[in-house]
């Protein structure tokens, strides 16, 4: 811009008051708030909980980055939010798909933005997450922790909404041909945690995530070289390079199903493997049925 006029900041004329007057008061307030936020962050003047959850950073930075994806790209429709309690704990159990765990992040946005009590979803992730640089750091700041009994029970006892994806890597790393077919549900550890803390289990079905990255093959040699559980080949990745990382804009539905109560069982119910297996199957079955129902209702993948 060779013709741009240079406005002296410390000129003779007091330029700032006029600028401030020109701004809408609402915008000014927001700017001030943002400036205060930046200063607070730079001074380290904020609180994290014992697990390293940084609510301010999560809500104002991480979730803000994910909202456009949630609203405009995937146009997520969340239902059954009344099945998530306002103040007490619950265990959200959902199907897992889509190569990278976008479904988990979208569920987090759904509960924070659309639930009347703006609940934070505290997820249980694999140790691979916490081993990886950046990923582990962000996961902790977003409130997530390692999938292990002590952590799950601690969060549930504190009345948090805990999210588990029991299919794990088998779920997100499955080929496109097996979409919406639930994989094995781990060892049912999540059921034991719910039983011990007497919190309800909310079976949750997510439709749309399977089509974001249709995985046509798994490059096992590459995955073994990189120490990853799988290495996806999709129609666009790695063919188009970084462009292949853009998810397809499928239309999403997230349904939080009817809660399965766990407080009617005796105290040591978690030590009864048969009961744990049965409850695990019940949760799995309920999610599978809801998936079929949602798929029937869906008009088209990108609808």
């Amino acid at each position: 811009m060779p013709n741009a006029k240079i406005i002296p900041i410390r000129g003779e004329e007091p330029i700032r008051p006029r600028l401030v007057d020109d701004l809408e008061p609402d915008l000014l307030a927001r700017l001030m708030e943002f400036w205060a936020f930046v200063q607070r962050r730079l001074a380290g003047d904020y609180c994290v909980d014992d697990l390293g959850f940084d609510p301010e950073f999560n809500d104002k930075v991480l979730m803000a980055m994910m909202r456009p994806l949630y609203k405009s790209w995937f146009r997520v429709e969340a239902s059954g939010l009344e099945n998530i309690p306002d103040t007490t704990g619950a265990l959200v159990v959902a199907n897992h798909s889509g190569v990278i765990a976008l479904d988990a992040v979208m569920t987090q946005v759904a509960l924070l933005d659309e639930h009347p009590a703006h609940r934070h979803l505290r997820m249980l992730g694999s140790d691979l997450v916490f081993q990886s640089p950046f990923l582990g750091e962000i996961a902790r700041k977003a409130g997530h922790t390692l999938a292990c009994h002590p952590d799950a029970e601690r969060l549930l006892r504190d009345g948090e909404i805990v999210g588990v994806w029991p299919e794990g890597y088998k779920g997100i790393g499955k080929p496109f041909a097996e979409r919406y077919k639930l994989q094995r549900f781990g060892r049912g550890g999540f059921v034991a945690a719910a039983l011990r803390t007497r919190t309800p289990i909310v079976p949750t079905a997510i439709v749309g995530a399977e089509e974001t990255y249709p995985m046509i093959a798994n490059a096992t040699v590459v995955s073994r070289l990189l120490g990853l559980p799988y290495f996806p080949i999709t129609p666009t990745f790695p063919l188009l390079g970084p462009l292949g990382l853009i998810p397809l804009p499928s239309k999403w539905f997230i349904h939080f199903g009817e809660p399965i109560p766990t407080d009617q069982y005796p105290k040591n119910a978690a030590d009864d493997p048969m009961l744990v297996f049965n409850l695990t199957d019940q949760v799995r079955e309920q999610i599978q049925q809801t998936l079929y129902r949602l798929l029937m209702q869906r008009q088209s993948i990108f609808g």
Partner: protein, 324 residues
């Protein structure tokens, strides 16, 4: 958990270092304690009027004579050294920590008057790594057991202490696993680290840190001496600070180095004598570690006065005073 009675003789090891000396001072001012005997290899810098100092190496059997002759009732083991620099080399450090503890415990076992043992241990016995639970409770086993340095010495010390507790079931044994000490007076590897003008961190990781204020830590040791609380307890200020957050609070610069550069970098500056950067320390600064302190606060009926952020603030306040 009864009182052990008035007119007691307490022996404190490691009194020539900061915490041991402070503890000896606090105990000698307490009316419930008759006599404080301080033991260390070098004489204390500060003269403590209420304390009888015995210059002895706990690595040799002289300690047994001291224990027997004075009729010591409570032994407080503060003599585990954290950094090689304090001892003059890693080999000496290990010898003082491990052989010293073995000798001390052997002497305690032979001395019938000993009724209580309080051991200052560290949270680093839990190790740190990506497979750790978010918070450690006392009965949890480490998932990444420490393999070197102070942390390994401390887990060995704890092992010998457990063995002693089995052989002398009549002795009340209290093991206190402390988070990193911090405060206006104490110098540790952590305070040196946070005093570096440019603070190195591991790229892509942000550890959760916990601190215990020196006054709070000493208060817990004192309470364990005055009244008996047998068992192992985690002691830390409530809440956590992220490493990045703590560095922002110091106002210093942060330099994030990839892990493969961090360790050689740490080693080179520790060789330069600036700071002790052990492998365990690097792991701690990468993955962090948090203690669940519910057992200690409920058993002792006492909560640390300073939370973790407050304890860190008291360390920062000292620095500002010294600059001014």
């Amino acid at each position: 958990m009864g009182d052990l009675g008035v007119g007691r003789v307490v022996l404190v090891t490691g009194v020539s270092r900061y915490l041991g000396g402070q503890l000896a001072r606090i105990l000698s001012e307490d009316p419930a304690i008759d006599q404080v005997i301080g033991v260390d290899i070098v004489p204390p810098k500060l003269k403590l009027p209420g304390m009888q100092f015995v210059r002895a190496d706990i690595r040799n059997p002289v300690i047994a004579k001291v224990l027997g002759e004075a009729g010591v009732e409570t032994v407080v083991h503060m003599g585990v050294i954290a950094t090689p620099r304090q001892a003059g080399g890693r080999a000496t450090m290990k010898e003082i920590n491990v052989i010293g503890t073995m000798q001390l415990l052997a002497a305690c076992q032979r001395t019938p008057s000993v009724k209580a043992l309080v051991v200052k241990s560290t949270a680093s016995v839990y190790g740190s790594g990506p497979k750790d639970p978010a918070m450690f409770t006392e009965e949890m086993q480490p998932r990444h057991a420490p393999r070197s340095g102070w942390a390994k010495d401390s887990s060995e010390v704890e092992g010998y202490v457990r063995g002693f507790a089995r052989r002398r079931p009549d002795v009340a044994v209290t093991t206190l696993r402390f988070a990193n000490f911090i405060g206006p007076g104490i110098d540790t590897a952590m305070t040196t680290y946070f005093s570096l003008p440019v603070i190195p961190t591991v790229l892509g990781f942000d550890a959760r840190l916990q601190f215990i204020h020196e006054d709070d830590g000493l208060e817990f040791v004192k309470r364990a001496v005055l009244k008996s609380y047998p068992g192992t307890f985690n002691v830390a200020g409530s809440g956590v600070l992220m490493l990045s957050q703590a560095i922002r609070r110091t106002g210093h610069q942060r330099i994030a180095l990839p892990e493969f550069l961090f360790t050689p970098f740490g080693r080179s500056i520790s060789q330069a004598g600036l700071i002790d950067f052990t492998a365990e320390q690097v792991r701690y600064l990468t993955y962090g570690r948090v203690l669940d302190t519910a057992l200690a606060t409920s058993t002792f009926g006492h909560q640390p006065m300073y939370s973790t952020p407050q304890a860190f603030a008291s360390f920062l306040a000292r620095r500002e005073v010294s600059v001014a």
